[in-house]
Amino acid sequence: MKLVFHYSVENFSNTYVVGPKEGGDALLVDPGVLDVRLLEAIESNGFNIRWVLITRCQPAHVRGLRTLKKVYDAEIYSRQASVLEFECQMVKPGTHLQLGDFRIDCLCFPELSHDTVVYRYQDWVFCGDLISAGKPGKTTSAYAQANLAVALERRFFTWQEDLLIFPGEGPPTTLRSEKLFNLARRSAGLEVQDQKVPPGTPEEKEL
């Protein structure tokens, strides 16, 4: 599978397109914008956007939807019944979607917002605003932030460490890095700094 990353300078947000290497039906995560550069990237890879996954129904994640729908006849998946003027397939927490060859696991995090969904495809996690590299998502109060930290601990950091995390904003990361260095865990005193070099690295024993 091929992953295309696009950064929107208007929204400071990331859009991802996942499709077969040889081209074909593809899925797009968070159409924050559909500009010429993204369109060129989609077309040059021979992708046809069949599915749109929305991690959060905020303008930064959906602003490009109108343009996208003019170009591609894509089904939209989100936590809400409609986004902008488009009907969506509602995602239920803890379920999976079978979109062609893509099996997508869906996890909802109402602790961040009622419409937050995290999508996992194989080893890739599209987590939207839930976390960004080194930081937890932003909530409206300290109480909500504490709730989110607990939810992350119970339902996110329990996943296998090999996962690659593609946030809605900022650079990519890995689940292992976030478990060790995310400020949400640091503030709760849960990070393990002395395990920074994971077991089995060359430095530790192999050389």
Partner: protein, 203 residues
């Protein structure tokens, strides 16, 4: 983008390396494997989807190479020349970098978190959307680089130069800065919230 394959050795959870079913630790003859890999890579310029985690890159000349969606997690890089190379969507987390030259490289949307870096030179590079969280860097040069939207959250930086850099949206939250030089850089546009007791923010 690389796909994660787990080593076929019973009980091992590490990533299998390129052209093998086992991780680097379980390759029967590592020296031969590395030689074979080097000779395979030597004539090529562009690489995509390689999985080469936990390997040792020593004294290699990888100047001008292009890597897309590659896995270099946990690698040790020593005296490696990477000037003018390009990395897109690559993961180099938990790497150890010593005396490496990355001059005028282009890193876009990469992760280098939890790495250790000593005497490395990134002068004149484009490091956009790069995750350097928890980096431990010593005597390292980032001068004349574009670090837009790059993160050094929780990093420990000692004798590191950011002279004449673009630091717009660069984040140093919770980092520890000792003898870090931000001269001629737009550090007002960066985000600082240094760790308690840390030596200081730019003056």
């Amino acid at each position: 983008m690389f796909s994660i394959r787990i080593c076929t050795t019973a009980g091992c959870r590490r990533h299998a390396v390129e052209r093998s079913d086992v991780c680097f630790g379980h390759v029967s003859d590592r020296t031969a494997y590395l030689e074979d890999l080097k000779s395979w890579m030597a004539p090529q310029r562009d690489f995509a989807g390689l999985s080469l985690g936990r390997q040792v890159w020593e004294g290699m000349d990888l100047r001008g190479r292009s890597f897309e969606g590659c896995n270099f997690m946990g690698c040790r890089w020593e005296n490696v020349q990477l000037d003018g190379s390009s990395f897109r969507h690559c993961f180099l987390d938990f790497g150890v970098f010593k005396h490496c030259s990355f001059q005028k490289t282009s890193f876009l949307f990469c992760s280098v978190s939890g790495a250790r870096m000593e005497s490395c030179d990134w002068k004149g590079s484009d490091l956009l959307h790069v995750n350097f969280n928890a980096l431990e860097a010593m005597e390292t040069q980032f001068s004349e680089s574009d670090l837009y939207f790059t993160r050094f959250i929780g990093a420990k930086l000692n004798q590191v130069d950011f002279i004449d850099c673009n630091l717009k949206k660069t984040q140093f939250t919770g980092s520890w800065l000792q003898d870090v030089n931000f001269k001629y850089s737009n550090y007002e546009e960066a985000e600082f919230d240094v760790a308690p007791g840390a030596p200081g923010v730019p003056s």
